[in-house]
């Protein structure tokens, strides 16, 4: 069968194959798999048929690469442009976009990096960092656009403890590397070095539709996590004291400072209806 008889579907399959897989997809095509471009696309005064098609092929990969770079800007810095592009290209080959939105383009990037880590035999630590950083950057983009109304009454230092409620867009993250600090330094235009492994905790909050990132300590993470789960200051406090073996007196001593910092960072709103 000649290409002049290509159905609409066959033609689109062929062209998409040329863009996404760089070669025509083999299945469904039989002998048309390697249909010469000249049989399908017209040459013009200035360009051959192949050059015409190449404009689309080049734009396809260049556009998606640049989207990946803007979604993973800190990772691009950490890996360096060249290595990032190599991973991004492989990723786009393996997981071509299935979404009408480019915001989800990098959804599987972190797990892809995990699947294809280059040190399968003798594990090194830098891939772990890159994988965590990729996951973190994607998470930030999700939180940025999460459904929630960002207008609430912020708690003040005078709000009674049992009226404190976590902000509706509030996320707690834990990492094996100091991811949040690294990201903050990068976004402030500094040039952070590849960090050593070190457990770290952070809170991500969206205030007036802008993200705030805060490094917090392990005990604060534990306490806030319990507040998130139980929606109760008292319960979270009791759990921290009982499960982490922190004396009540010690809690009472640090709490005013925690409260002040948490409120200054916008973590709490006042219980609605009070």
């Amino acid at each position: 069968m000649g290409t002049e008889n290509f159905s609409l579907d066959e033609l689109q399959q062929w062209m998409q194959g040329m863009l996404i897989y760089h070669v025509p997809v083999e299945s469904n095509f039989g002998t048309n798999a390697g249909a010469p471009v000249e049989d399908i696309v017209n040459a013009s005064q200035r360009l051959s048929a192949v050059s015409h098609l190449d404009i689309y092929r080049y734009s396809y990969i260049a556009r998606l690469r640049s989207c990946m770079q803007s979604q993973f800007s800190a990772l691009t810095y950490a890996l360096g442009n060249e290595l990032f592009q190599l991973f991004a290209d492989q990723y786009l080959d393996t997981y071509p976009s299935e979404s009408y939105s480019l915001n989800t383009l990098g959804q599987h990037f972190s797990s892809f990096l995990e699947e294809t880590r280059p040190d399968k035999e003798a594990k090194e630590s830098w891939p772990d960092f890159m994988i965590e950083l990729a996951g973190f950057e994607y998470t930030l983009s999700v939180i940025f656009d999460e459904y929630a109304i960002d207008t609430n009454t912020a708690a003040t230092i005078d709000t009674p403890d049992n009226m404190l409620v976590l902000h509706p867009v509030f996320h707690l993250l834990s990492h094996r590397f100091p991811i949040c600090n690294y990201y903050l330094e990068f976004s402030q235009g500094k040039e952070p070095e590849l960090p050593f492994p070190e457990e770290s905790y952070c809170a991500v909050i969206r205030l007036n539709y802008k993200l705030g990132l805060f490094s917090i300590r392990a005990a604060q993470y534990f306490f806030l996590k319990r507040m998130q789960e139980t929606h109760s200051f008292e319960k979270a406090k009791t759990m921290l004291i009982n499960e982490k073996g922190i004396p009540q007196t010690e809690f009472d001593r640090v709490w005013p400072e925690w409260k002040m910092n948490f409120i200054a960072s916008g973590f709490f709103i006042e219980q609605p209806g009070t």
Partner: protein
Amino acid sequence: MPSVSNYRQQIANMTNPGLGLGLRSKHFNYILEHNPPVNWFEAISENFMDSGGRPHYVLRQVAEKYPVVLHGVSLSIGSTDALNKEYLSKLKQLAAEVNPLWVSDHLCWTGVNSLNAHDLLPVVLNEVSLKHICDRIKEVQDYMERPMVFENPSTYLTFKQSTIAEYDFLRYMVEETGCGLLLDVNNVYVSGFNNDFDPVHYIRQLPYESIVQMHLAGHQHCGTHIIDTHDRQVAQDVWNLFALAWELTGGVATLLEWDGNIPDFETCHEELLKAKQYMNHNFQAAPITVQQEYEEEAVSNPVNFLVNEIRL
């Protein structure tokens, strides 16, 4: 359910809101703070339909103060995949929320087998694809309960299988479905250069009464071809074509698209206002000028395709 003649009537009744700008995240703060005297804004539907954060918040604010048009890039009206119902339902929901003057997309396809190439890919222009596309336009319009408006895309190739000129194809779409047209004057110029057709002839053949909107944008000349980059001022040749299109249509909503190297709001607005000089300008078939400075390695950027810019 409204009929084709209903849709045609609605298109005929569309009013001209004047000169508008594409709503871009870079300008969000400026627009909210200054309420600039732009007649209307065009929002890229996909940048807002899944947003529960800042983009969505800003669009709602803008829609309260200005007329808004929703302009999509992912309808994929030419694809042989089934229509994406999830996409359509979100589009309909967004339209219900911001009450746009109209909803537009492109004569193109974006992918098959549920994949998305995130590009406006050229359709084959023949009778089979015409029927396929018209059937789908009717389905979309009936679902959306409004006429759709379709834009001529920039194209970088033509297919051997194509037998119908693009302007005729658009005319048949209009006749068969009652849809409206968005004439991108820059795209006509770009496609004409790339595919050896005369943009003046193209524009003269269009069904003007169905054109509800025009697009203007800058492009990048690469010597052997032109890429639709939307990253600079409108070329003089394109202004000349705009003067012709203005004369033929009697003047319709006109919008400037700027998607790469986006300057500050005022610069975009100034560029848009140049359009006034070409209204009632009496089109002279000026010879197409030959651009001297060519650049390489351009990426077509037909719309605001960038992912969200996260604000800390």
